[in-house]
């Protein structure tokens, strides 16, 4: 068929040089490297702040912080936009239009590597230095680690998250369980004891182990194993670290003990929104769950109909001495490199991340782990023991996070996909699956470089 080809060639000739000119401009782009503003001299400046919080108590708390900030800086006005997903904010930042945000926060530390290396977020080191803030003496080491990439401090921690076990004390009593499990063998036994079948489904499930069960993602479980993700030369070592395989095997066995994948998935499709009072733990659909410290605030607010408590999530039997650890992550905040209001933006970021009262107040309001050394030791911090569990997890030296990577969380998606395939039985050869995923991760990182 020669005609369409000819028509394309004709078209190319018709549009000719105009197209080439356009192409040239499209290639170079018109990226402004950002700029500063007159906020320091007291002129009125409005900055836009995008965040991902959506629950009412959370949006209220962040607004309260913003209100205080605006009282302290009457000339800086903050336009707050909530419930923004990471790929949306990233798309907007890369596009760099007039509506793009100045200050951005993200729940996911996964993207720090991407934001820093692509220079989507500005390096804050010069600003920290200018204001005489020493990051190492201000922020806990683990949190500082996940907010930077290859020397660029393009974000700062804005509260941290640690993961632990939530358990339904009423259900525990009914099943004759007296204390929260500390090892996976105890945990598995308790999960089975707490499971009440209902025909083909469940009246109550001990624990939802599948990777789609909200926070029960591979990275959270792997945190209990202390697994490493990358070895020398930045290559994925999930195929060689035996702790990774051990996690996959444990999870798959637990699925079998609780009734099998199909039955669990069917039950899961009736779960309510994770970030609402319909969370399956809050409704009593599951008796135990792995979740972050923020849930303590939501459960208290939603007034559940049973007694509950928190504890560190169990650890593998052969690592029983590490009990008390947990997966560690946090919210990060940064400044768009394209922002023309860097000075005002920095004032906001500085206030939210380093002002002890602001950090403690915010941590108490939404029950997150505070993210400065001063705030962690603050007497004003909430003394609720269920919340304190997570402070201790955050302080535990064995608690670890997922490392930053140049292509963001892509390696975690690869591991997750393997998890989905393995838990459902689609992939039965775990060693081959891990090897293939490791290769996939390495190729993706290579492509992003």
């Amino acid at each position: 068929m020669h005609s369409p080809r000819r028509s394309r060639r004709t078209a190319a000739a018709v549009t000719g040089s105009a197209v080439l000119a356009l192409l040239a401009t499209a290639c170079t782009g018109t990226n402004s490297a950002g700029g500063t503003d007159d906020s320091a001299s007291g002129k009125d400046v409005t900055i836009t702040f995008w965040h991902g919080w959506s629950q009412e108590n959370e949006t209220k708390a962040i607004q309260a912080n913003i209100d205080t900030f605006q009282r302290l800086h009457p000339n800086i006005h903050v336009k707050v936009v909530g419930d923004i997903a990471d790929d949306k904010s990233e798309q907007a930042l890369r596009a760099g239009g007039p509506d793009a945000p100045d200050v951005v926060s993200s729940f996911s530390t996964d993207n720090v590597g991407k934001f820093c290396s692509a220079k989507v977020w500005a390096d804050l080191n010069p600003l920290l230095k200018k204001d005489g803030i020493d990051p190492a003496r201000t922020f806990p080491a683990a949190m500082l680690k996940y907010s930077q990439f290859e020397g660029s401090q393009c974000s700062l921690p804005l509260l941290g998250d640690s993961y632990g076990l939530y358990y339904n004390k009423t259900a525990f009593a009914a099943a004759g369980i007296t204390a929260p499990p500390k090892t996976f063998s105890e945990f598995d036994a308790d999960a089975v004891k707490l499971t009440v079948a209902d025909g083909d489904g469940y009246k109550q499930l001990g624990f939802m182990p599948t990777y789609h069960g909200y926070e029960s993602a591979p990275s959270r479980y792997l945190g209990q194993y202390g697994a490493s993700y990358f070895g020398g030369a930045g290559k994925s070592n999930i195929a060689t670290d035996p702790r990774v395989a051990a996690m996959f095997t444990w999870q798959k066995n637990l699925i079998g003990k609780l009734g099998g994948f199909d039955r669990l998935e069917k039950y899961r499709s009736g779960f309510g929104d994770e970030y609402s009072a319909k969370n399956p733990f809050e409704t009593g659909q599951v008796a135990m769950s792995i979740d972050g410290e923020w849930r303590t605030a939501s459960i208290a607010e939603d007034k559940v109909s049973f007694d509950w408590a928190t504890a560190p999530f169990p650890v593998p039997d052969d690592q029983a001495d590490t009990y008390g650890r947990g997966y560690q992550t946090g919210t990060i905040i940064g400044i768009a490199r394209t922002s023309r209001k860097q000075a005002a933006s920095w004032e906001l970021v500085k206030y939210l991340t380093t002002d002890t009262d602001a950090v403690v107040g915010f941590a108490n309001a939404i029950h997150n782990v505070p993210s400065t050394i001063a705030a962690l030791g603050s007497p004003k911090l909430d003394a609720d023991p269920n919340f304190r569990t997570f402070i201790d997890i955050a302080r535990n030296p064995a608690s670890d996070t997922t490392p930053a990577s140049i292509n963001g969380g892509a390696y975690q998606i690869s591991i997750q996909n393997l998890g989905y395939a393995y838990e459902s039985g689609k992939q039965s050869d775990l060693a081959a699956g891990l090897a293939a995923s490791a290769k996939e991760i390495d190729a993706a990182i290579d492509q992003a470089k």
Binding site: P4, R8, K88, S89, H212, S269, F271, N417
Partner: protein, 319 residues
Amino acid sequence: MAVGSTAVPAALKRKHRRETARTLAFLSPWLIGFGFFFAYPLISTVYFSFMRYDGFTAPTFNGLKNWDYVFNHYPFFWQGLRNTLWLVVVMVALRVAFGLGIGLLITKLKTGVGFFRTAFYLPYLAPPVAATMAFAFLLNPGTGPVNHLLGDLGLPQPGWFTDPSWSKPALTMLAMWGIGDLMVIFMAALLDVPKEQYEAAELDGAGPWQKFRYVTYPNISPIVMFAVVTGVIQTMQYYTQAIVAGKVASGVIGGSGQQFEPGYPHGSTWTLPQMVYNLGFQRFDTGSACVAALVLFAISMAVTSLLLRRRSGFLSSED
């Protein structure tokens, strides 16, 4: 122009020039559109497929690296191609057969034609996102009415959009629900079949199947061909229903820090057009996204050329 010889009188030449100007004037909106929204982006897509560009820092030449990545390392490429092929074969075949069946059914009806025609046509009007949302609810394994009914009847209850072996059949069912366009086309074609041919066939003692085989089908075969080819082209572009069904069934729709698993469940609803979105707007790997776009372009144009060849009627004109 071939007539531009010196023998042509000046007046005729002027007329000719005037006509060319007039033609260009009438075509001008589209000429600009063609250059700007077709030719330019295509050339640019080819250009970017050889560049490393994250949409932020200036693009740099990357050789064949993007092509190598997409074909040999991108974990979802072949899966997307396989799924698209599955949909092209199964979904298009079933849609055409079902559309023809419904069209035939309507022409056989004697009572309530208006009601049935409207009933059969209505789902076609449902916006794709809304229709997909409705089906995701109806087919929700734990709580949806369809499995509830199947359970009451003692039948097996599939996982539909949450089960990799049922997700494409569920999408096919959704596509068959919106059969209204094909039904109308077939209905019109069936009514155009000359009645005399049926009468002649009846005189020869032909049964219903023979009448269909030797009278109906030869008359409507160009329309069947048309339905198949346009169906293939539509299926190449299959995007909205697949992505919405995957997001709704996986429960991951938005929110900071949540990563949507492409083609949930297990990549079974992952199609070629989604690749462009994933690479370009989630991974911000412009070069690889352009490679995926060019693959999509090549396949679409191959199918289109088939359409242009088989349906010369497309190009017919009155002189």
